[in-house]
Symmetry: C2
Subunit: 166 residues, 2 copies
Amino acid sequence: MTIAEEAAPPVHRFPNPLSRRFFQICTAATAAVVEPAGLTPLEFAVMAYVNSKIGEPDIDQTSLAARLGIDRNNTSLLVSSLEANGLLERRVSGTDRRVRLVRLTGKGEKLFAQLEPKALAGQNQLLDVLADDEREQFLDMLVRVIEANRALARPGAGRRKRNGSS
Amino acid sequence: MTIAEEAAPPVHRFPNPLSRRFFQICTAATAAVVEPAGLTPLEFAVMAYVNSKIGEPDIDQTSLAARLGIDRNNTSLLVSSLEANGLLERRVSGTDRRVRLVRLTGKGEKLFAQLEPKALAGQNQLLDVLADDEREQFLDMLVRVIEANRALARPGAGRRKRNGSS
DNA sequence: TATTGTTATACTCTATAACTATA
DNA sequence: TATAGTTATAGAGTATAACAATA
């Protein structure tokens, strides 16, 4: 009802607008599962990269940043937020005292175990229009495109200048 | 150099993180072309939906919002920004004086004509890892997924609550 | 001197809500 | 009363820059 249902507005068949819409959809689906637990989709993504089931417990923050495709500053803030909620803990590395090793707490592991299946189901449901083999193909291609363009995955990707004419 | 090149960090094979990375990449590629002209990727997207070549000149702002998958408020701001730069103009509709019809100015059309081929090339280049038929398939599937999940494409998709335990 | 992480800050994108003006 | 658009405001995400501690 919110948006014009009229004649199903066309989507431009170009990567950038398509990627934006796809991201919106995926984020909305994840948020629906994760928000009731007080998490943002990104915070949940951090937990996914750090948990003991599909993640890498005791990863350092710089590596975590690389996994997420964000930079160290934001990782720090995200980790602090999760830590403040008792979902995650930082430990100083024994071999290099600059490094913080990050892992979920018991509480964090438990919450992740509860949310992960729902989040995954919600995300996969988005691909229901695709046949099973198409779905695999689609994810494969997505991975390949991302791997191939890793270098672009986060430089100054949204800077502005305001007033292009002066 | 910015990000750990170490062993090419794995990407989780789930829609949400993949969509985020893909969006980052696409946005970076678009920004590289569009920023030198003082535009953000989203402002450029507005121009793409409004220009006379591949867009719909004299579209109203609500329909434009639906095309972009954003809401009226932001459309208003975006349009104002482009208008302030002389790239776009608003006209009151003759048949309904509440409605503003949006179209590019001569200057806007000219700038869009300059940027569009470069932006398109930049975006398509991201898909170079894919074979030609794969690329078409990929875009098709992306469109289908988006069409199928239109309803999700922008409700309260990022709200928060802070402190899930209380 | 280089690197890990932190803090401060700013800007884009997106959302909610309250408003004006038309219908 | 409902709709198109505007304005104000806020929060999520991401960026730069300067800094502290450690190597």
